[in-house]
Symmetry: C2
Subunit: 158 residues, 2 copies
DNA sequence: AAATAATAGTTGCAGATGTAACTAAATACC
DNA sequence: GGTATTTAGTTACATCTGCAACTATTATTT
């Protein structure tokens, strides 16, 4: 009698597909950032956030960039040493600093933004406007489901 | 005169969104696999592939699971030590082995498949059948674009 | 068929990353 | 107001990961 074995096609398994896709994209972007600006992806995220909202603390930037505090601490160190970011003392809370891009940091950001936008546009070049909106909605739906399915996490990073 | 600074909203940046999403999903799945089966995601991929196609070599499994040869070598070691996989000598090429799941490995696979399918179904619970097809197409389109945009890579893993 | 190049897989090492412990400061509690 | 608890950020340590060098075997070249 034939045993009914369950089968699973990995190549069609959504978590695998997403991880693979995001890996390819991340490696490709990391390469560009690193080659041209000596910038890691973590640093890029921080710079991007601070460009929009200067003066946030490490914790706040971390929340917006999905980086935990250890990652933040290290990336901020590197950015500061590279002269791209500075910490300003906050009077009312001397545990944290207000983070600001320096001119140098701002310059990097201004150079890298078109590059990032260009990359994104290329990724989406086969999508119509309407499809991009649908994709956007799909990603939000997946985010929501994924959050629901996540064990309650004490990670600071979300 | 106002400086025209470029802005970029990280939260809406597709590579960021994909990385974040895939990270949440991967961590969540890794947790489950690890808790219940003491299995890493790499090992899971290998087991899943071998369940469908026993007898492949490490290189072949690696291609199908996007794992490079170093990752493969290590994961195969762990699976073998756990008694979940065995290597069989191939007469015509003594550099490689034919990989097979043991009964133990097959058992793990049979237990884990429903869990994985259940997780995926939950991820997609807010999607209609038609939407799932669209999502599938979108992911393929993104894969294609991402591949085009990747620097020619000698990675064995794709 | 000897020499050369290519391939499969392993291992050493270095850098990256995550967890947990730690310090300093702020907040809550009594 | 003083003690206990929580929070922001840093650091130490252990693990993971990726690259490059290596071994063994097979394929190619001449």
């Amino acid at each position: 009698m034939k045993k009914d074995k369950a089968h699973l096609n990995l190549q069609r398994f959504l978590p695998y597909r997403l991880t693979k896709l995001s890996g390819i994209i991340s490696r490709s972007l990391a390469q560009r950032y690193s080659d041209q600006f000596d910038l890691t992806i973590q640093e890029w995220r921080i710079v991007a956030i601070l460009g929009e909202r200067p003066g946030l603390t490490a914790r706040e930037v971390g929340e917006l960039s999905s980086l935990d505090k250890v990652n933040m601490s290290r990336a901020i160190d590197r950015l500061e040493k590279a002269g791209r970011l500075e910490r300003k003392v906050i009077a009312r809370d001397r545990r944290s600093f207000a983070l600001h891009l320096t001119n140098k940091g701002e310059e990097v950001l201004q150079q890298i933004i078109p590059l990032a936008e260009d990359y994104e546009a290329n990724l989406l070049s086969s999508f119509s406007e309407a499809e991009i909106e649908v994709l956007d909605r799909f990603l939000n739906q997946l985010d929501n489901s994924a959050d629901m399915l996540s064990p309650v996490t004490k990670k600071a990073a979300e």
